[in-house]
């Protein structure tokens, strides 16, 4: 490479770096602005904030998840609604790249480090936009007593053979008190589950109210 070309390449690389840096900074600013609105004390500003969250997309997922457990109920609620707004926006047709990016960020929130309430919400978000990539991490929660029912329902909704395979594997490993739940999902997905009868019509709850005499 000649000296001239080397200089040109260096300049181009530097320019690209500046552009990437600028884009990153712009994204950070958008996220910060969104979080600022979500944490605002005004109902109106918070609502404007969560309504505008869709286009902020994947970079806002983790920061919003942190605010979902804010001690101010309305702030926490606004953060949750903002996250749902992102999920609903990103699930639109012809937005596969955005959807993948949001899915990746959501999957990071399924880990043990997150509060159960956040993980439960994330499972339902993934039930709407999760692809085969979500199946394994969700299936991993079938053994978590607090989250297994939501994980089972999320897998029930995710299309493809991978989700059915994960449910079948989950059934084999499930303790007795959870087998019927997984069987319910497998039947919904068109799979026979011999030996595990459906109990949907079996009453279990007794009342203390006596008929009038």
């Amino acid at each position: 490479m000649s000296m001239n070309n080397l200089k040109k390449a260096s300049l181009a690389a530097a320019a690209t770096g500046v552009m990437v840096g600028t884009a990153d900074a712009a994204r950070r600013r958008r996220v910060d602005r969104l979080i600022g609105k979500i944490k605002d004390s005004s109902d109106k500003v918070r609502t404007e904030g969560w309504l505008s969250a869709g286009e902020v997309g994947a970079p806002a997922v983790e920061p919003l998840a942190k605010v979902m457990t804010d001690e101010d109920l309305e702030v926490a609620r606004a953060a949750k609604r903002a996250l749902w707004k992102i999920v609903r926006h990103t699930g639109r047709p012809r937005a596969a790249k955005e959807k993948r990016a949001v899915q990746t960020k959501l999957l990071e929130l399924l880990g043990d480090g997150q509060p159960v309430s956040v993980r439960r919400e994330v499972l339902w978000m993934l039930s709407e936009i999760g692809s085969f990539k979500s199946v394994k991490p969700i299936a991993g929660l079938l053994s978590n007593k607090q989250l297994r029912e939501d994980a089972r329902m999320a897998l029930e909704r995710i299309p493809g053979r991978g989700a059915v395979k994960a449910l079948k594997a989950g059934l084999k490993a499930a303790p007795e008190d959870f087998k019927l739940n997984i069987a319910q999902s497998l039947r919904k997905r068109g799979t026979d589950v011999p030996g595990l009868a459906c109990v949907k019509l079996v009453p279990t709850k007794k009342t203390n109210v006596k008929p009038a005499r």
């Binding site: 109902d43 609502t47 309305e74 709407e128 919904k188 011999p194 949907k200 019509l201 709850k205 008929p211």
Partner: protein, 449 residues
């Protein structure tokens, strides 16, 4: 649809080897034709959900009980306070249940009035149909597209009679409006604009808490995913949550759009596109749209249906009335629809299921040769007729699911923020994977279709 590996309680106990003594009930249908209650027999009835609207239905049924047309054999509610009150009102020897599934195994019970929150309608309808119970089901019929399909299939397969509580169709002035419109008095109608006042906002949000001791929270949630109790969920306020109620578009859309579909001859048809926008509440637990605009486009024949939740001051004022008109008085006539034809327009007002027709329809005298339309003998009476003769009810399950689907699709478009395409023949959303997934909602074990 009955599943081959499904157990009822008897089979369950037998399978478990329990030496239980099972009472044997003689069904009231025993003297009638197979699967059909005899024309002169008294119907044996149960009520599931006896507070709020369910309580009003219970009191309405007591009038039929007092005439000897029905016998109330059981009441059921997940709230022990409401249940105790209903049991006392029902009188001696009326069984009280917390769990509606005990009613499924009561073979003596012919018919059930379901007045539970919306999120229970699909599951309970399918279960009741599978156990051969006729049903009066409070509207709106279903919460998801999938529920609607399952309900229609179960009712058809088990040949039970269902009346859904869009009782506006059975009102005297609904008949007059219908007759006026089908006789071309406003010409060809190409647009129906439904109007309604806003959904409320939760101005008193509270944190989650333990449920009150009288409430079985697990059973109240039923098929919904589990979440902590919050007193703003229930009882009647479930209507303002998208998941359990869906706001005014579902609560009242099931009345106004029900009439529109019937009068337009559009039962059994559906839109090709649905597009909604709306304004959400700014705080609190409730999340259904406060203000809302939905446009449904129908093809072959081409017409447009809109649903608008608008500020109170924009609602078309109701006509002044004496109260002696056929439709009588209705509470807060704050909703209805404007029918726009090429020769004029016509307004229908409603309020809590009542139906008022504009004066010109009430006073119209049909000329000789005019078309007549079905005149309901009353919503409950029309249901009894359906049970005893097999005739289709005025708000049968197919029509009710059709009306509910309009409400569901409107809310889905609002939630997703985009226009949806609908294939009526396949009963499917087209070309939107996320929306397609939202046509159904996984249900908590064991409360499922």
């Amino acid at each position: 649809m009955k599943q081959s590996n499904q157990l009822n309680r008897r089979e369950f106990l037998a399978a478990a080897g329990a030496a239980a003594s099972i009472p044997y009930f003689i069904p009231s249908t025993v003297l009638a034709a197979p699967g059909r209650t005899g024309a002169n027999e008294r119907l044996i009835m149960a009520h599931v959900g006896v507070g709020g609207r369910g309580g009003r239905l219970f009191r309405e049924m007591k009038k039929f009980r007092d005439t000897g047309a029905v016998k109330v054999a059981a009441v059921c509610d997940v709230d022990e306070t409401r249940l105790a009150k209903a049991a006392k009102e029902a009188g001696a020897d009326v069984a009280a249940y917390r769990d509606y599934r005990y009613i499924l195994e009561r073979r003596d019970i012919d018919a059930v009035v379901i007045g539970t929150p919306d999120h229970w309608h699909g599951v309970q309808t399918v279960h009741m149909a599978e156990c051969d119970k006729h049903m009066y089901l409070e509207k709106p019929a279903s919460c998801t597209i999938e529920e609607g399909k399952a309900m229609v299939a179960a009712v058809k397969e088990n040949r039970v009679s269902v009346q859904v509580g869009s009782q506006g169709r059975s009102q005297p002035e609904a008949y007059l409006a219908h007759r006026y419109l089908v006789n071309g008095n406003i010409g060809h109608i190409s647009r129906v604009d439904c109007f309604h006042y806003p959904s409320p906002e939760d101005n008193n949000p509270v944190p989650d808490s333990d449920p009150p001791p009288e409430l079985d929270w697990d059973m109240w949630l039923g098929p919904l995913r589990w979440r902590p109790y919050n007193k703003r969920y229930c009882h009647g306020t479930f209507r303002w949550l998208l998941e359990s109620g869906g706001g005014q578009i579902r609560d009242r859309g099931a009345h106004v759009m029900s009439c529109a579909m019937w009068w337009m001859g559009a039962d059994g048809t559906g839109p090709v596109t649905v597009e909604a926008t709306g304004t959400p509440p700014t705080k609190g637990l409730w999340d259904s749209a406060v203000l809302m605009e939905v446009t449904y486009t129908f093809k072959n024949p081409d017409w447009t249906l809109t649903w608008t939740q608008m500020p109170n001051e924009e609602i078309p004022p109701a006509e002044e009335r004496t109260g002696k008109e056929p439709g009588g008085r209705i509470v807060r006539p704050g909703y209805g629809a404007i029918y726009r034809g090429d020769k004029g327009q016509f307004i229908h007002w409603g309020g809590d299921g009542g139906t008022w027709a504009e004066k010109k329809a009430r006073e119209w005298v049909p000329p000789s040769g005019a078309k007549d339309v079905y005149k309901s003998p009353g919503h409950m009476e029309d249901w009894f007729k359906g049970i005893k003769t097999g005739a289709k009810t005025i708000m049968n399950i197919e029509a009710a699911v059709g009306a509910a689907n309009l409400c569901i699709l409107g809310n889905l478009s609002y939630i997703l923020g985009r226009k949806l395409k609908w294939d009526q023949a396949k009963q499917e959303i087209v070309g939107d994977e996320q929306a397609r997934r939202m046509m159904s909602r996984p249900q908590r074990h064991p409360y499922h279709l």
